[in-house]
C-alpha cells in the first residue's frame, strides 16, 4: 500500500514540476505547482510528517498560491515572448546541466554510505510528527528560530507593501519645491506620477495639446518668453511656476 501511494504521489509530484517548467502560460504553471504541492504533501504523510503536510496544503497550496494567482491575473498572464534570443544552444546547455546536477545529487545522497538509507528509517512511536510534538519543540528547543521567523514574516510583509504600493500622487506645493535624494537619483521617464503632475522632474508637455491648464504650459510659456528676450533675467523657476 505504501509503495503504491509513494509511486502515485512521486509521479504526480515530478509531473507537476515538469508542468511548471514546460507550460508556456504562467497561469497554468501556478496550477501545476498546486498539484505538485498536494502530491508532495502526500509524500510528507508517507514520511510521518503530518503537521508539515497539513501546513504545506493549507499555507502553500492555499495562501501562497492564491497570491500567485492574483499577481498573474494582475500582470495579465501573457505568454512568454518568443524572441530570437531564446537560443536552442542555451536551452540544450541548461538541459545538460540539469542532467549533470541530477546525477551529482543522486551520487551525493545515495552514495553517502548512510546505514539507514536503504531502510524505512528508525522505529518511531505513533505520535511522531504530530502537531503536539512539533508544537512542543517549536516552543521549547526551537523558540529562537520560531520568533526570528515570525519577525522575518513581518519584515517581508512591510517590504511587500512598500514595494508594491501605488506611487504617491500629488504632493504639497512646498514639498514639490524641495529636491529630495530620490529626485536627484531618479532619471526621467520612469513613469512616476510626480512627472505627470509636474514635480521637479516633470516631463515637457507638447505645446499643442492645449486642453488643460497644466503647469507644463506655464513653464513652456516662460521658456518661450526667455527665448524671446535672452538678456532678461528668468522670471520664474519651474518650481515656482508649479506653486503659482
Amino acid at each position: 500500500m505504501g509503495e503504491v501511494l509513494f509511486f502515485v504521489a512521486g509521479i504526480g509530484a515530478v509531473a507537476g514540476a515538469i508542468g511548471v517548467v514546460a507550460v508556456r502560460n504562467p497561469f497554468y504553471s501556478v496550477l501545476a505547482l498546486v498539484s505538485h504541492l498536494v502530491c508532495l504533501a502526500a509524500l510528507f504523510l508517507l514520511l510521518r510528517a503530518e503537521f508539515v503536510a497539513a501546513a504545506q496544503v493549507v499555507v502553500y497550496a492555499g495562501a501562497v498560491m492564491v497570491l500567485y494567482v492574483f499577481v498573474v491575473a494582475y500582470i495579465g498572464g501573457q505568454d512568454e515572448p518568443l524572441g530570437p534570443r531564446a537560443g536552442h544552444g542555451l536551452k540544450l546547455a541548461s538541459a545538460v546541466f540539469g542532467g549533470l546536477l541530477f546525477v551529482e545529487l543522486s551520487i551525493a545522497t545515495l552514495g553517502s554510505g548512510l546505514s539507514l538509507i536503504d531502510s524505512g528509517g528508525e522505529i518511531v512511536q505513533p505520535s511522531f510528527g504530530s502537531p503536539a510534538e512539533i508544537g512542543e519543540l517549536l516552543l521549547t528547543k526551537f523558540l529562537l528560530p520560531f520568533e526570528v521567523a515570525s519577525f522575518l514574516l513581518l519584515i517581508a510583509a512591510v517590504g511587500a507593501v512598500v514595494l508594491a504600493r501605488r506611487r504617491g500622487g500629488l504632493t504639497r506645493a512646498e514639498e514639490q519645491a524641495q529636491y529630495t535624494a530620490m529626485d536627484v537619483l531618479r532619471s526621467s521617464y520612469t513613469g512616476t506620477m510626480a512627472e505627470a503632475v509636474g514635480g521637479p522632474h516633470a516631463l515637457p508637455k507638447p505645446a499643442a495639446s492645449g486642453i488643460d491648464a497644466a503647469p507644463g504650459h506655464e513653464r513652456a510659456a516662460a521658456a518661450a518668453a526667455e527665448r524671446a528676450e535672452p538678456g532678461a533675467p528668468p522670471t520664474a523657476s519651474p518650481s515656482e511656476g508649479d506653486e503659482a
Binding site: V21, L47, A55, Y68, F97, G121, A160, S187
Partner: protein
C-alpha cells in the same frame, strides 16, 4: 518505502527547478521554479528526519517554508512594481538595479 527513493524524487524535483530557473524568462515562472527547488530541499529534510527518527528536520522544513513565503512576497512585490513602471516583465531585460 526506502528513504533512498524519497531522496531520488527530491533530487529529480530540484533538477527540474534548476533547469526551469535557467531556461524560463518570465520572473513569475522563475519564482515558481525557486519554489520547486525549496520544496525539493524540504522533501530531503523530512526524509532525513524520518531516517534519524527525530523532529529536527521537520522543524527545519517549517522554517524553510516561512522563508519561502517571505521570498515569494517580496518577489511578487518587485514584479508588481515592475509592472506599474511599465518595465518589461522579462529577466533578460532587467539588467540594472536603477529604478
Amino acid at each position: 518505502m526506502d528513504i533512498g527513493w524519497f531522496l531520488v524524487v527530491s533530487a529529480l524535483i530540484f533538477t527540474i527547478g534548476a533547469a526551469g530557473v535557467l531556461t524560463r524568462r518570465s520572473p513569475l515562472v522563475v519564482l515558481l521554479c525557486l519554489e520547486l527547488m525549496l520544496n525539493a530541499a524540504n522533501l530531503a529534510l523530512i526524509a532525513f528526519a524520518r531516517m534519524h527518527g527525530n523532529h529536527d528536520g521537520q522543524i527545519f522544513a517549517i522554517i524553510v517554508m516561512v522563508v519561502a513565503a517571505c521570498e515569494v512576497t517580496v518577489g511578487l512585490g518587485v514584479i508588481v512594481a515592475m509592472h506599474r513602471r511599465r518595465l518589461p516583465i522579462d529577466v533578460d531585460e532587467m539588467q540594472e538595479l536603477q529604478g
